[in-house]
Amino acid sequence: MTIPAADRTQATVRRRPARARISRRRALISILLGLLLWEFIGRFVLTNAILFAPFSKVIEVGWRMTVSGEIWRHLAVSASEFFLGFGLAVLLGIAVGVLMGRSRLARDYIDPWVSILYSSPLVALMPFYLLLFGVGLLSKVAIIFTVSIFPILLNTYTGIRSADRNLLEVARSFSCSPLQTFTKIEIPSALPFIITGIRLGLGRGLTGVVVGELFASRAGLGYVIATAGQSFDAATVLLGVLLFTLSGLLMMGLLAWIEAALAPWRTSLEQS
């Protein structure tokens, strides 16, 4: 039995690849113009090497540090701090968010703390963490964890709570166990929220790396920025900022890829 034409309407998904291509080209042109402007200002407007450096100079410094291997050492330190702190925030954020979403008791006791801590600038805790955990890895992991956990936790909680009532009723009608309802309905419902939380937490986590390392450190990208700043080396400062930006972009891209792999129905929804 085939479906009559009247029942087929809106069944085909229309795409506009040409428009997307134009947008991408414009974005690329915009970036290139921005870099040209940077180069121009560095060469002809702010020529003082203490105040500013052209893009080409920053690349040159970056190349030198790459060849000497110095940059890898700092990147490795920052990356390990970040992945430990942020990884813990993702794990614990999701776990506590799920707990709050499912248990009224947990929600009532945890929620006031989340509200207070989410709205306060938690980077201010850095001096305290230095006293507590020292100058090394641990204080950075702690600050990154602290600043990035709350958006993940809150979004997970909201996601679990926002599971469609109709779908929960479907689960009941099919005699799902509580565990099946959780894995088959609540988690997939919450997934887009969780990924949004991780995306928000990612930005905060990177800020955590910078703040942590600027305060006190012996290595890391933030350390590179701090020491270059103290020796009036604008090119190296800008290199550090550029590398942070690139890592952020890279991880956002990775997250978008993970989202597409985990929730393909969302990507096809956006295209339609």
Binding site: M1, A6, A11, V170, R172, F174, S175, I185, L191, S268
Partner: protein, 266 residues
């Protein structure tokens, strides 16, 4: 009305015994929605329950599925009382009840997964049902890529997948446009002809009820009860054209008047 009982000496497939249901209103007083609802449905019978909106139809079918517990009275399937949803009853929801993150085939597989049936045989079952409801070739599409009618086909296939004896349908075509609705009515009868299930179908469309059912029960009154039962004599298979037949129209008027009484009573 229950002649089949003596004839076959069998227990009716589905019995409702004096069902009553009340809800607590916001002000704390109990509002009675259903009272004294009793009915018997034979195996393989197609019964439509009609009534004005707010007449407790949806409450009643939710009680049949076990999604709601009655304040008093019993639901018996094959003579045994039931209190919770079970695979002996399949529910077809109004709309938007497909899991948006699952493809057509994975939506149909849902109930089988919950029952932890063998994956290979489940997939074969799901494929056969998708073909039965006319969606062959759409297995890998997501619900948002389908039209309203196609989504309700998936909804039906999902309910049929666990092979329930009783199919409970809660205004499944209410959200569809008139043309699609008629196509779906015809399709439902075709599918029902191939999978002989006992069907309880809720609707507020009188023509839909008379076209589909062996018997139409009119719910009415406050609290609601079965006001009348109308035997539908039209021979099967039925063509959509019978909706224009004078006998059909006369019966529509009869049911319409039964439903209209509510306006007077309320």
């Amino acid at each position: 009305m229950t002649g089949g009982l003596e004839m076959q000496g069998a227990v009716p497939k589905l019995i409702l015994e004096d069902i009553a249901k009340g809800f607590l209103s916001a002000s704390g007083e109990e509002r009675s929605v259903l009272a004294g609802v009793s009915l018997e449905i034979q195996a393989g019978e197609f019964v439509c329950l009609v009534g004005a909106s707010g007449s407790g139809k949806t409450t009643l079918i939710r009680i049949l599925d076990g999604l709601l517990t009655p304040s008093s009275g019993r639901v018996l399937v094959d003579g045994k009382p039931v209190a919770a949803p079970g695979p002996d009853r399949g529910f077809v929801f109004q709309q938007d009840s497909l899991l948006p993150w699952r493809t057509v085939i994975d939506n149909v597989l849902f109930g089988l997964e919950v029952l932890k049936h063998d994956r290979g045989t489940s997939r074969a079952t799901a494929r056969a049902l998708i073909e039965l409801v006319g969606l062959k070739g759409h297995e890998k599409q997501y619900p948002h890529e389908l039209s309203g009618g196609m989504r309700q086909r998936v909804n039906l296939a999902r309910a049929l997948a666990v092979d329930p004896d009783i199919l409970l349908m809660d205004e499944p075509f209410a959200a569809l446009d008139a043309q699609t609705r008629e196509i779906m009515q015809r399709e439902l009868l075709r599918i029902w002809g191939q999978r002989k299930k006992t069907v309880v179908f809720i609707t507020h469309q009188i023509d839909e009820a008379l076209y589909l059912a062996d018997r139409v029960m009119v719910l009415g009154g406050r609290p609601a009860h079965v006001r009348a039962t109308i035997e539908v004599p039209f021979e099967r298979p039925r063509d959509l054209a019978i909706k224009m037949h004078p006998d059909f129209v006369a019966r529509m008027r009869e049911v319409w008047q039964l439903i209209q009484q509510d306006g007077v009573e309320a």
